[in-house]
Amino acid sequence: MKATTADPGTRPAISKDGDGLRRWWSSEGNEFAGRNLALIGVLVVLVVLGVLTRPDLYSDPEWVRNNIFTILQQASAIGVVTVGMTFVIIGGGIDLSVGAIMALAGVWATTVATQSFGAGGMIFTAIAVGVGTGLVNGLLISYGRLVPFIATLAMMVAARGLAASISGKQTQISGDATINGIASTEILGVPLLVIILVLVVAAGWVLLNRTTFGRRTVAVGGNPEAARLAGINVKRHTLLLYALSGLCCGIGALMLTAQANSAQAAMANLYELDAIAAAIIGGTLLSGGRGTIVGALFGVLVFSTITNLFAINNLTTESQNMIKGGIIVAAVLIQQFRFGSLTKLFSRRP
């Protein structure tokens, strides 16, 4: 949908070309740098709140280190899925089926038949299911001309149904030590899940900002007609975007399965909402044409840091929810505020 109010963010300041400092980490320009800085600010505030409310815990460096990894691990599977979602949204679409695809991929990968092929078979299955369902989404949308919202909603319903039917509505145990090990392995002291997240985010960043695929994504989402008249195969590209999202779901499903040592038709419930919200909070336009991977990651981190803050403070669910609503609003308002003033700061003429 369209923002109905004029967004001051759509007309960013002009900067001198060469200013590397502001550009290096977000090739999309100041605006995004500004937004990301603001999100880092929000994260810092959340951590400070944690320190203030639980000085006892935060005084133990070992606990702090563990806590950081806890937050990151919690963000890992949803973070991977959010990368795919960000591509889809930048490309002018939306994917409501990510949670359901994760469940289907997880459940399929943990059937007795699949598990008999070992870790390789499970990984292959999860990825194949993810990419396959993503392709179906893409076909329905690009060649069947279904609205993305409806096509992926249908997939969401259908994939959960299929997952329930494959699993017989039972939780399926993963007996594979390699798969389960994904959740407990550390490499040089860093949990493997965190490493996977970092790799996927890095790959997503490169893909979006440094490859022709990324450029086509922006073009297709920003003005599909212009993209088409410039010779870009809009339909095929759209198809690929949903396949990419499906791929991320497959990876995410393996990560979740490893964490739970099991999979279930109801798992990853409403991940689509979280992923979309994280992408948007990170600065991706829901109407397509622009967005950032790094921002989306920060969006995910904001959510998992909030959850962590609530947990260490022992809040009841209802107060959690009320406060969470407030924090989301505050985070976005801060972002806008910071962004506005940063822009002014950067564009001030000597």
Partner: protein, 540 residues
């Protein structure tokens, strides 16, 4: 009624701007503008693309607030907080970019924001009736008042924009390049209305890049250059063109077409179109373009030229007929196939069909070619930017910073980006191996390429098109400006109601003859709206 009497200060001035300044982040769009408009006159604003004309009128219309300076309206200093305030004060505006709501009807658009209503209910009959009256006045009673505007061609939309301006009881009507999307006969119609308005004491501020229009309709001229008034109150009829252009550009420009090169007529055709048909748009069109040849298509708005180009390019699927490029038949309805075969098209509507408004200029320029710059799928933006800078320089893009989002460019400069897309890498070779983005395009389809482009840049563009042809490209050009078609094309096709009715070498036709031919069909006035809305009778 008393307060509606126009209060003129001594010399009939109803609007006076003094030292108006408006800055956007990083740009001083208006840098001390003076303007004085008298009641009942047509006051022309002249200036190059990006000079600040649209920004100025947006200040007048309450869209932008000036940073400093004075606006006096009917003798009193004013500051319009929003468009509504300006409208209430009696200033109506036709904006450069069409500002209609696609899914509302012609009548609803005309009266948007001030609908005739009763208790919140729209008086639909009344709205339609008043709209029809305005449309009649505009000479377009055939446009159905209840048709959604997205089903009108762009010229029809322009009429609706005008109808909207006339729906207000305005004392000043501002028109920002209204003729850019109008064909010859429509411009005549527009001028008739303007004369009616001024005869009633209403002032008109008129913006156009076409000198002959300024001469015909204008009373006085104010020239803007880089956000400053460089000349005010010149006579529109008597000031020599050379003078005006010099004040606009700071240099002298020959407003002439580059020489034609004669070339072999026996060369094998590059493009061959046979019997191309889309029902309701055009029928049985055949044409050829040889390498190095510029073929122009003249015709009325709505004669099906844009659809023809789009169909050749594969953006629309032909219902019958073939397109052959280099002896190989193109797959119908596939832009990809056309591009691979060496076709390129600069479409008619820049905003909806060509631009990524929030992306930087250079990425818009290289939109059709970034993969040719890429290595192994990885883009090389530095080279893209360098190439885009070369294009920007050739077309005199202002400002020339290619990292700026296209949205911030003035209308004419946006148009340069659209055309420039197909010039990437075609510049004078600097010999180096760096011409990675050299376009493989060998046939260029240009649809109204100079819409909104200023005199200076237009001359550059003509030269560029000639150079391309000289380098062996074929060009198929559609333009509603007959002199442009005649001056640039080696061969001219004349289209009327979807059919090619005449073909002749460019040198053998004159404007009069062409106009006669294309107008012959306009008696039916079928161009803007094919049928009248029969439901309206009952509804009224």
């Amino acid at each position: 009624m008393d307060e509606n009497v126009i209060q003129e200060s001594g010399d009939g001035v109803i609007l006076r701007l003094t030292d108006v300044v408006k800055t956007f982040p990083g740009v001083r769009a208006l840098d001390g503008v003076q303007l004085e408009v008298r009641a009942g006159e047509v006051h022309c604003l002249l200036g190059q693309n990006g000079a600040g004309k649209s920004t100025l009128i947006k200040v007048l219309a309450g869209v932008h607030r000036p940073d400093s300076g004075r606006v006096e309206w009917r003798g009193r200093p004013v500051e319009f907080a929003n468009p509504q305030a300006a409208m209430r004060a009696g200033i109506a505006t036709i904006y450069q970019e069409l500002d209609l709501v696609d899914d509302l009807s012609v009548a609803e658009n005309a009266f948007l924001g001030h609908e005739p209503r009763r208790l919140g209910f729209v008086r639909r009959g009344e709205t339609a009736r008043r709209t029809r009256a305005i449309l009649e006045r505009l000479g377009h009673g055939e446009i159905p008042a209840r048709r959604p505007v997205h089903r009108l061609p762009s010229a029809g939309k322009q009429i609706v924009s005008m109808a909207r301006a006339l729906s207000h009881d305005a004392k000043l009507i501002i028109m920002d390049e209204p003729s850019a999307v109008l064909a010859h006969d429509e411009v005549g119609n527009l001028f008739r209305i303007i004369r009616e308005l001024t005869a009633a004491g209403i002032a008109v501020v008129y913006i156009s890049h076409r000198m002959e229009e300024i001469r015909e309709i204008g009373d006085r001229v104010t020239v803007l250059k880089d956000g400053r008034t460089t000349a005010a109150g010149l006579s529109a009829r008597e000031t020599p063109t050379r003078d005006l252009v010099t004040r606009m550009t700071g240099r002298t420009i020959e407003y002439v077409f580059p020489d034609r090169v004669t070339h072999a007529t026996d060369a094998a055709p590059l493009l061959e179109v046979r019997g191309l048909t889309r029902h309701g748009e055009f029928a049985d069109v055949s044409l050829t373009v040889r390498p190095g040849e510029i073929v122009g298509i003249a015709g009325l708005v709505g004669s099906g030229r844009s659809e023809l180009l789009e169909t050749i390019f594969g953006a629309r699927r032909a219902e019958a007929g073939t397109v052959v490029m280099d002896g190989r038949r193109l797959r119908a309805g596939s832009v990809g196939a056309a591009v691979r075969a060496g076709l390129g098209m600069a479409p008619e509507e820049r905003k909806s069909q060509a631009l990524l408004l929030d992306e930087p200029i250079y990425r818009n320029v290289t939109l059709a070619g970034f993969s040719r710059f890429a290595a192994g799928g990885f883009t090389r933006t530095a080279r893209e930017a360098a190439s885009a800078r070369a294009v920007a320089a050739r077309l005199d893009l202002r400002p020339p910073d290619v990292h700026r989002p296209v949205r911030q460019l003035s209308g004419g400069n946006q148009q340069k980006v659209v055309v420039g897309r197909w010039l990437v890498g075609t510049g004078p070779r600097n010999g180096g191996p760096h011409d990675a983005g050299a376009t493989p395009t060998r046939l260029l389809l240009l649809d109204e390429p100079t819409r909104g482009v200023d005199v200076g840049a237009r001359a550059e563009l003509y030269q560029v098109v000639r150079d391309l042809a000289a380098a062996g490209l074929g060009v198929l050009l559609v333009s509603s400006e007959v002199p442009e078609v005649l001056g640039l094309a080696d061969r001219v096709l004349i289209m009327r109601e979807g059919s090619v009715i005449h073909e002749a070498p460019g040198g053998e036709l004159d404007e009069e003859a062409v106009l006669d031919m294309i107008m012959a069909g306009s008696l039916t006035t079928g161009a803007l709206a094919a049928e009248t809305d029969t439901t309206e009778g009952e509804a009224a």
